[in-house]
Symmetry: C2
Subunit: 325 residues, 2 copies
Amino acid sequence: MKTGEDRLVRKITQALGFKGHADLALGAGDDAALLQSRPGRQLVLTCDWFLEGSHFLRDKHPPDSIGWKCLARAVSDVAAMGGEPRYFLLSLALPETHTGKWLDGFLRGLARAERHLQCQLAGGDTTRNRKILISVTAIGDVPTGGAVLRSGGEPGDLIFVSGRLGEAELGLRTLRHGRAVVRGNSNRWIKKHLYPEPRLALGRWLAEKRLATAMMDLSDGLSTDLTRLCAASGVGARIAIDKIPKAQLPNKGRSKFDATELALHGGDDYELLFTAHPRKAGQVPSAFQGLPLSCIGEVTRKPVVVLVGAEGREQKFVPRGWDPF
Amino acid sequence: MKTGEDRLVRKITQALGFKGHADLALGAGDDAALLQSRPGRQLVLTCDWFLEGSHFLRDKHPPDSIGWKCLARAVSDVAAMGGEPRYFLLSLALPETHTGKWLDGFLRGLARAERHLQCQLAGGDTTRNRKILISVTAIGDVPTGGAVLRSGGEPGDLIFVSGRLGEAELGLRTLRHGRAVVRGNSNRWIKKHLYPEPRLALGRWLAEKRLATAMMDLSDGLSTDLTRLCAASGVGARIAIDKIPKAQLPNKGRSKFDATELALHGGDDYELLFTAHPRKAGQVPSAFQGLPLSCIGEVTRKPVVVLVGAEGREQKFVPRGWDPF
């Protein structure tokens, strides 16, 4: 005789193809997961909320995108350390009405992310709640001493970002103005909002080549996250507005969206922000595996983040990205 | 310039005395925590929901007990493997109204648990939510190959529990019938409900001595959890009702509570349930560091859990403990 919770756990472990693994001695189904760490490597541990109402809307976001994104955004923090994802724990609370079709869709997206990101279910906890609540703990590893921290930026370092900033925010706004649940592949920005791609290969390459002196992922918007990286490194930054890679709006000039404002403050891009020593910055290519890399400014000694406009006008770069409080 | 979230993270890390540690290279404040595992040991990983409305009530439970209990219950899963707790990640969502006095109380209880359980903050995630949501990931370790699983029970093994069962449930009911927020030390059962004590020393001792063939912690009630242990081991059990250690009600016979029913199905005790080979069961003492250990029955080949009453009458032991679904 199984409880409702046991049945739910079985559904999840089956959908995610949970299986024993060489260094995962034991996972979902016991009190805890047992994990053997690999010699010469440190573990990378991070957890991420993904909550209905705050991070997604039940009637706007397809369930498979919620499954994909809850893992992708946690794994993005592993990418930002230059690490390799390995396992995750899933804490899932949901209404009983959502344990059928909705859960199937959610698990489909999560299983796809699990395969794509090579990050396997190792355990978790489930319970019932009126709203859908998700917390994912991602476990990765990195060669000991090889992780790239937020705190390594030095005055004179050049500042880079991957991709184009503000695209996910543009996708979110497009989706918000839409009427119903949106198909994931309807446009590039909506796709980036729904199915973000953690920059794992880039993060590992930068860490292995020791090109990045500091690194983090852009989840809350450039203005907020760059301020955090600078605070951690005890430095400031000068950023050139026209060097920031922005979303290419379809009807430039007539769009209701401002590509610059989106790029400065829009969240959820999961691109990488990193700094490089000026002597090594020449080794940073203009694109990595098709992903553009842009130099947007430099690290300064004075601990202030300054934005330089088109005519050389300077202004303080105030954090206006995502802040729940 | 700090965001509201950054200020909250600072408050949490300061209250919990977050600091670098020999094998915690980096924690709260970067994208992820970096952890060096100890040679010859496996990591034990588990996560646990602790949600307002489901697991605690904002107006009944003192904030410091919520802080204590969210960590204690996650660590109890580490105890149930015979492991040693080391670090935890805190996912906390709360209303802005609760970032002052309530949060101070919560952090006081959590800091006390952190010291008592020797389990340090390594990272986490915070966000705003109308209800208070907590998910704790506990990270421990155990000598490689030395963990006690749920699946090791064999027919003929004797079944033991620690402590007295149903006490926490009795505390919860007492608290529910009370009028206001209750002081933690008002009575023994309320205290057990508010400030449970994971059985870490017992779990490690049983694992080191290789006395326990299977083990788990009792969080959802004996009827539900014993059924889970039997399912994992592919066995059944015969339990003698009169051998189950029960809460000693103050006014026996006249109490509105039924000690047997509380012991069979009451949750939240965080005692240990374990099995021992009959040849070794004699080495299980009647008490461990003052905590009573009781033999309540034996493992059977037939995969059914049977309850034997006072006059030898048998009935099926149906899971009626905590099940959110």
